[in-house]
Symmetry: none
């Protein structure tokens, strides 16, 4: 079973947007055993859309983009003509469009109303987050699926509508995937550490390293005929892996570390605050990206300047002078003060040199101190990250969250 992915829209062809949609879709389809034959980006132009479908010999074609409310979006009309059907008014979709827009304080106009005109002979795929519905056409055993190009809308429809329907109606092989989420070892060091385990993996299992700043995901793929057997094989291997890197594994299957830490705090009815310097609010931002974080997160002081470290976090001017803002003494005090002032069970503090400027020979760009505290203790650790500002901020934030996780589990 194979698929072609076609993305429509000039933003990609003019080099303004990278086609990350296709990459995301490719991953989802491969997970359920559909190979990608080709990916294509074309203009929002009826001839090219039709030509691309005509030329495709794949079982599935997924088209993204060209479904917005503006005049230049022609995909729906083109597909409706191509599949010899007609546009009919869908009252249910119109109600959804109205509800969504009114909720956003937008006045519903004729362009929006047109979004409820949908092809009669297609299965309409509900778009919970947007006004452009997805459409699933079928002809001569070829499935043509058209989706909006806005990433979160497309992702919602793929997850809620397309994948379940594919699993339901297409003949797909058995594949079991599991992703092990690790924090604390860069890819090359991790690879050295787990080499023996990796070399002894059973033949059915393939391993892929998927690194991103501060996190390495280990993806295990088992292919065969029996899902139960494959699942068991994978679980056995993960059990072995957990013995080798017990502190680095924070979860599975793309869970975020902020979610894991949040769940631990919530379960135990504990609270946390943060005092951030070089991470500039990124840790708070990660923590509060989780819905329901107000149950355990009270707040933060972002003390970007030394003045604020002194006035808001009781860091003594003499310590800042003698030891520097990036020091054990400063992060310890920051963690202690914010925990006390914000009256929380736990706290995190970070101070470092994110770069590109501010490095010295003794403390180069990337030098970062992180502390975590509870009522019994303060534990601090020095890290040396790299030269890239954005990645230093990310790595410091993830390392800090992992330290809090380990402290919560009494592993620090």
């Amino acid at each position: 079973m194979n698929a072609d992915l076609i993305s429509i829209g000039d933003e990609i062809l003019i080099g303004q947007v990278v086609d990350t949609n296709s990459v995301w879709i490719a991953k989802r389809l491969i997970e359920i055993g559909i190979d990608i034959r080709q990916m294509k980006s074309i203009s929002d132009n009826p001839e090219q859309i039709v030509e691309s479908i005509r030329q495709s010999t794949s079982d599935v074609i997924i088209i993204t983009g060209g479904l917005g409310p503006t005049n230049d979006d022609l995909t729906k009309k083109t597909l409706t003509d191509y599949f010899n059907t007609e546009l009919v008014f869908d009252a249910k979709v119109y109600e959804h469009v109205k509800t969504l827009l009114v909720g956003r304080g937008v006045i519903v106009n004729d362009l929006n109303k047109e979004q409820a005109l949908l092809p009669k002979d297609a299965i309409i795929l509900e778009n919970k987050s947007g006004t452009a519905s997805g459409m699933w056409f079928e002809k001569d055993n070829q499935h043509v699926i058209s989706l909006p190009g806005v990433p979160f809308e497309m992702k919602g429809i793929i997850t809620d509508e397309v994948i379940p329907r594919m699993l339901d109606i297409l003949q797909l092989p058995s594949i079991v995937y599991k992703t092990v989420m690790t924090q604390g070892l860069p890819e090359s060091m991790l690879a050295m550490k787990i080499k023996d385990w990796e070399d002894n993996l059973p033949n059915e299992i393939k391993l892929a390293y998927l690194p991103r700043p501060g996190i390495v995901r280990l993806r295990l793929t088992a292919k065969g005929s029996n899902k139960v057997v494959l699942n068991q094989l994978i679980e056995e291997q993960i059990e072995q892996l957990s013995q080798i890197i017990p502190n680095q594994i924070f979860g599975y299957d793309d869970v975020s570390i902020e979610k894991v830490v949040g769940d631990l705090l919530k379960e135990r009815n504990l609270s946390v605050s943060t005092a951030e310097s070089c991470t500039g609010g990124n840790i708070s931002s990660l923590i509060t990206s989780i819905a329901g974080s107000s149950a355990y997160y009270k707040g933060s002081v972002i003390s970007y300047s030394n003045e604020i470290k002194e006035s808001q976090l009781n860091v003594q001017a003499t310590i800042l002078e003698d030891k520097g803002a990036v020091s054990k003494e400063v992060v310890d005090q920051m963690a202690i003060s914010v925990r006390k002032n914000f009256n929380t069970d736990y706290s995190i503090s970070v101070s470092g040199i994110a770069g590109p400027d501010g490095g010295t020979e003794e403390k180069p760009v990337g030098t970062t101190w992180i502390a975590v505290a509870n009522k019994e203790k303060v534990i601090s650790k020095k890290f040396t990250f790299g030269e890239h500002r954005g990645r230093n901020i990310t790595r410091a934030s993830l390392s800090a969250l992992n330290m809090l996780r380990l402290l919560l589990l009494n592993k620090l």
Copy 2:
């Protein structure tokens, strides 16, 4: 004049690598007036390569990838066969390959030697940074250019060999483009507001809407024969547009609003602090993503809980009870307190219901109050965003930064 871009290699099709090469090439070609008709990623498979060339009706085809020294790279052989020519030994290229590999301490093997075998009827494009030469075939007025997939090698050949040759032998038009960055109006409302202007754009100018949460980019592309005239045409239109949406335009050509605000503060030697509730540190994070932000940013209080709003930002308990945390009174006090406590010229404060929970009939999810303050005044405004937590946070953050920008420019 148009072009197809074809990238070869399974890494893209399995969703592990994003095709950034094509985006980079697209920008370079568009700059010299070549439109991209389509971009395509295919497998390293002779049939698919030939099929892609056969199906293409474009004037230029640029193929990247599949030219390495390993056995599974079949592009060179495939193209040589397709263009009915033969591989001949190129002594000059062989010398280059040897020099390069010896310099890297690599022993030259047979596979490397094969890289000096090149098609007789193609123009060979020198690859200064690598061992795989580029090739330029021409047949029936169609130009087929094959380049290695390694980004810096590909970029070197495009810049040094392909573009100069294109300017030399192809008939190319003049092209000018400019992107207008807007904040504050969703795509459909913006489209309604600038409809007359859009309808009256001169024929030479095309407009594209490029929306993302909280920001809509308007891209103007002018094509013609005279670059000076086109530049002037675009500037005239942007001047008109600025009259229609004076407060929404915050910059041009993909600048971020945090950079614009940061530059304004730095130029005027002013400082800023923030007091964030629902945005949870995201505004601080955006501000500090800019290198050098310590020149104007002192810090923040993230007051996620009411307790912290009271203890750290002097918000009175009675106000929180009577008006609720999401109210004008609360954000006003937050902005005043953080500006005073952190001793900054300006401040931003935000309190809202990010969702998914916490909404009421009177204040649904998405309801957000934002205030900006300086020593003379506090200005606050109520927004109603949508239902999606992440996007509410993004929209609130960008709206807050735009309010600060307008206050700094005395436009609020």
